[in-house]
């Protein structure tokens, strides 16, 4: 099925199941410990041995000597695989650094070997007995130092120029020119990278934890230099990924190599202290923002430049992406620059580009509003656009940004905010409010599904879509239930298996809309097949309450499969509506923060997000996405930072004691409001994503609230107390 014209009325519009706050269909499995995660699967042909990965002890250089003799003799040790004795390996397109290093070392904690033993403890102990010496090479670890040599990019990341930015900025009566920095961040998902791998002849099977099954299958095949048909990837439950599990990682490759070496299944879970440097992270950025405005608050010039770094061959953090589209203004400039660094691999993390980009842009907008003596909500409303500002012939498919701001302001009591900072006190506490825009594009990805109607009237959906904690199982069940006129209980959903049709996977907040659209397409086909079996006109049938009805005829849906299961498989493909219309999601974040006037400790006291993201498929799971994202945003604003050792080239705080994310005590009541929307230009589901939208802008809303509370503007995330303590109002 191809979606190339706006959706008319379709069965989803009935919204009997879709749009309802259905409980997670997999909730009970998870809360009772019965949902097996990658490391826990019992469905393995033999008792697995345990693998323990050894990471490089330097950031850049070469292995000078590798002594595994002692380790090999240790109790229980079955195999030690390193580049010396591993088969030749390829490198997947989506990996920048090799997943097995040696003799060259490309980054700290790059996997150099795996030790396989009968028990986990034996493997770990032997891994510690492997002695590796290195010849260190000079590395580049400091973004600020590398910045002058950073290079421009091409394609989607090329510079953009609209109108005459330089002239308009120079001529603008009110100007802002500031630099903001965001740090390296880690996904810090709960479940570590984990895989159980085994071989049957030349065929490889893995239970793993991965967001993108088809990518993982292809990349495993490329890396192991084998045909993809021989790779079977399964990842039915995933304990969070946030983009960290989009790509093939060392756990899967090393488990496969270990399993081959010892002729048994091998399981590996990456130890947390190894994960933060071994795997990918969101890279730090340095962002310069220049804004020009008229005295009455119209933006005339918007310039956003961003510098980030990555290993040679890597990519930039596209932090200027959203600036192309968020506000009106005739003269515009965006530019990305990429420096080569020898830190661990930079790559996607939840809302890549937008998250750090909006952390900067939405402080700049707050600063500009202050210069103009305008309310920051009003300033944003005034500069709204209904068309792509770089290409005014191209409208947004739907854009209710202004309503998000205005509804939010009313609900939050924004009118109680004192525009002058550091004025509101409650005892020791300085109180402030902040607002920021949330903005993230909608992306659609080709997505296929297979649906089966059984003789008992139940429907089974099979697709390689993943549920990384988002609720995919549930919204897919709801989609099939709505399409087939069934209650959710009559639908079974099977996900995360590379033997199923290839879906969009989970990433870029494209999963919900794309994957349910794929299921929609397969169900549409199944409806036709059922109608035909029942001798009804497919164009005239309705599927309601477990029945198929046409005119005054009706039959139980189960009837259609009496003489044999009906199986329909279909792929949703996308036409050019995404080109004709800018498809995006919008929101506004409101935050109230209190800062201890003595110690500088910040406590977020209230949070509100108002989101406009098309049809909300399930308000319960969608809300969970947004409150989780808001929590992550508080972390980004106030505490999350991978501390770079610029001498030795690694993230020093490489465990969850050192890399702090919010705990319950940091998070106040969170309110989420979804505007009642349905966007007919994005898909038959009329839905868009919310998972990344929820994060976009949160950091800046917190930052703006802290500024409003204290009068100290911090442009360097995270906003930890050491950065403003000495500038707080004097204490008694």
């Amino acid at each position: 099925m191809k979606f190339d014209t706006p959706a008319g009325t379709n069965p989803i519009d009935a919204m009997k199941v879709i749009g309802q706050a259905v409980d997670r269909v997999d909730g009970k499995l998870k809360t009772t410990g019965q949902a097996p995660y990658a490391y826990e699967h019992g469905e393995v042909p033999a008792k697995p041995a345990y693998g323990y990965v050894i990471g490089a002890g330097i950031a850049k250089g070469r292995i000078a000597s590798f002594h595994a003799e002692e380790a090999r003799r240790m109790p229980g040790v079955l195999a030690i695989v390193s580049a010396e004795n591993a088969q030749p390996l390829g490198k997947g397109n989506m990996n920048t650094a090799k997943l097995l290093g040696g003799p060259n070392v490309d980054h700290y904690h790059q996997a150099l070997a795996v030790v396989v033993a009968e028990s986990f403890e034996q493997a770990r102990s032997a891994a510690n007995a492997v002695r590796i010496t290195y010849d260190r090479a000079q590395g580049r670890f400091d973004l600020a130092k590398a910045k002058p040599g950073a290079q421009p990019l091409t394609g989607n990341d090329a510079d953009t120029h609209t109108g005459d930015f330089a002239g308009a900025f120079a001529a603008a009566p009110v100007q802002l020119d500031q630099t903001y920095t965001t740090p390296d961040q880690n996904h810090a998902m709960m479940e570590p990278f984990a895989t159980i791998a085994w071989w049957e002849g030349d065929a490889l099977s893995v239970w793993t934890s991965n967001q993108m099954i088809a990518w993982n299958k292809r990349e495993l095949a490329t890396t192991l230099q084998m045909p993809p048909e021989k790779v079977h990837v399964r990842s039915p439950f995933i304990g969070g990924g946030f983009g960290g599990k989009l790509f093939l990682r060392a756990d899967a490759v090393m488990a496969a190599l270990g399993a081959k070496a010892c002729g048994r299944p091998v399981k590996i879970a990456m130890p947390r202290p190894l994960m933060l440097n071994n795997a990918t992270h969101r890279p730090a950025t340095i962002q310069r923002i220049r804004l020009g405005a008229t005295k009455d608050g119209k933006l005339t010039a918007i310039g956003h430049e961003s510098w980030s770094g990555d290993l040679p061959g890597g990519g930039p953090e596209s932090a200027t992406q959203q600036t192309k589209l968020l506000y009106a203004g005739a003269n515009r400039l965006t530019a990305l620059r990429l420096a080569e660094l020898d830190l661990p691999e930079a790559n996607a993390m939840r809302a890549p580009g937008e998250a750090p980009g909006l952390m900067a842009l939405e402080i700049a907008i707050d600063e500009m509003a202050e210069k103009l003596a305008m309310d920051p909500v009003k300033f944003r409303v005034l500069n709204d656009t209904q068309v792509d500002p770089e290409n005014p012939k191209r409208p947004f498919s739907q854009r209710n940004f202004v309503r998000c701001l205005e509804d939010g302001a009313a609900r939050f009591g924004w009118n109680r905010r004192n525009a002058k900072p550091a004025q509101v006190r409650e005892g020791r506490w300085l109180i402030g409010m902040g607002v920021a825009a949330a903005f993230r594009n909608n992306l659609n990805m080709t997505s296929a599904a297979r649906v089966r109607l059984a003789g008992d009237g139940t429907v089974t959906v099979e697709t390689d879509m993943t549920d990384i904690g988002t609720g995919s199982y549930t919204i897919i069940a709801q989609t099939a239930a709505e399409m087939m006129g069934l209650p959710v209980e009559k639908v079974r959903v099977k996900l995360g298996d590379s033997s199923f049709p290839v879906s969009a996977g989970s990433g870029g907040q494209w999963g919900a809309n794309s994957a349910t659209s794929g299921v929609y397409a397969a169900c549409a086909k199944l409806r036709d097949m059922a109608a035909q079996r029942l001798g009804m006109d497919p164009a005239a049938v309705q599927f309601v309450d477990g029945e198929v009805r046409a005119g005054n005829r009706s039959a139980a849906l189960a009837e259609a499969a009496k003489s044999g299961e009906l199986v329909a498989e279909e792929t949703m493909q996308w036409g050019d509506l995404g080109k004709k219309f800018q498809q995006s999601t919008f929101g506004a974040h409101f935050v109230e923060a209190a800062v201890d006037s003595y110690t500088g400790e910040t406590r977020v006291r209230r949070m509100l997000a108002v989101c406009a993201a098309g049809r909300i498929l399930n308000p319960k799971t969608a809300r969970s996405q947004v409150i989780g994202a808001m929590t992550m945003g508080v972390g980004g604003a106030l505490m999350e930072e991978l501390a770079v050792d610029k001498r030795f080239g690694f993230f020093v705080n490489h465990d969850l004691a050192g890399y702090e994310v919010p705990v319950h005590a940091d998070i106040p009541h969170q309110e989420v409001v979804f505007l009642d929307e349905a966007d007919d230009k994005v898909s038959p589901m009329k839905a868009k994503g919310v998972g990344e939208l929820g994060l976009c802008g949160v950091g800046a809303a917190v930052a703006n609230a802290v500024y409003n509370a204290t009068g100290v503007r911090v442009r360097d995330y995270p906003i930890t107390l050491d950065k403003y303590l000495a500038k707080l109002p004097a204490i008694a």
Partner: protein, 316 residues
Amino acid sequence: MKAFTYERAKTPAAAAAAVAANKGAKFIAGGTNLLDLMKLEIETPTHLVDVQDLGLDRIEATKEGGLRIGTLVSNTALAADSRVRKDYGVLTRAIVAGASGQLRNKATTGGNLLQRTRCPYFYDTNQACNKRKPGSGCAAIGGFSRPLGVIGTSDACIATHPSDMAIALRVLDAAVETVDASGKTRSVPIGEFHRLPGDTPHLENVLQPGELITAVTLPKPLGGRHFYHKVRDRASYAFALVSVAAVLNEDGSGRVAFGGVAPKPWRVEAADAQLRNGAAATAKTAFAEARPTHENAFKVTLAERTLAALIAENQA
């Protein structure tokens, strides 16, 4: 983790003798610190002597009018004890500001005093660390030093002692009771229990090999108002950037000790005498010899401001 043997001692002296007799032996109490370090092979004992059967899990009144806290009293039980809450509030507050409920259930009094630093380089065996491997150097100096010490540090080590409980014990002038392999007991004032690093940062306290902590004693109640304020980057479940334990009287006099700043609970008696002159004067004396790095100089300001908050609260 290296393979090790394990025994459960029956008496304090037997436990001490078992550890003294074996160079690779260590005591294990709650295990919340030691086991983590063993998994990372930062500690590599070959033999563990478990002290949980020694009957040292009671809190008793002393004839001096104070309390004797058995080394195996859990952090949870100690914080919840009604006598402690009434007369030694600073101790309860300090304990509950640390770790998490689950950890405090397992963590013991003696183990808490002996927990090792949270310097991130100490935890990474690829990095030079004089505390972990004497003579190897200190990777933290010149590196990521934001969480590390500002005073009492040396050119060999700038790590802090991470305990919250110990800061309160210092302000209360507690003492540590021990027994050695020969059955000899002694009592060490808490201020003399932990050592400054000098050029031997791996030696963190005055215990001799095999010497077992049996109890911590508290002198008779001090009165005054008890405060513990722990400042960190998130609201809970993190080690202190700075913490301040104070017992303040109505007239503004009192005592103060600082955590998160030094290799041991930081108390300077001459600074106590400045309390009536305010936080600035007190901190000036307490931190006169501070040698912060550019990343952690804020801790000195933070210590002063946090103390100011407590003084203001005492006056309110």
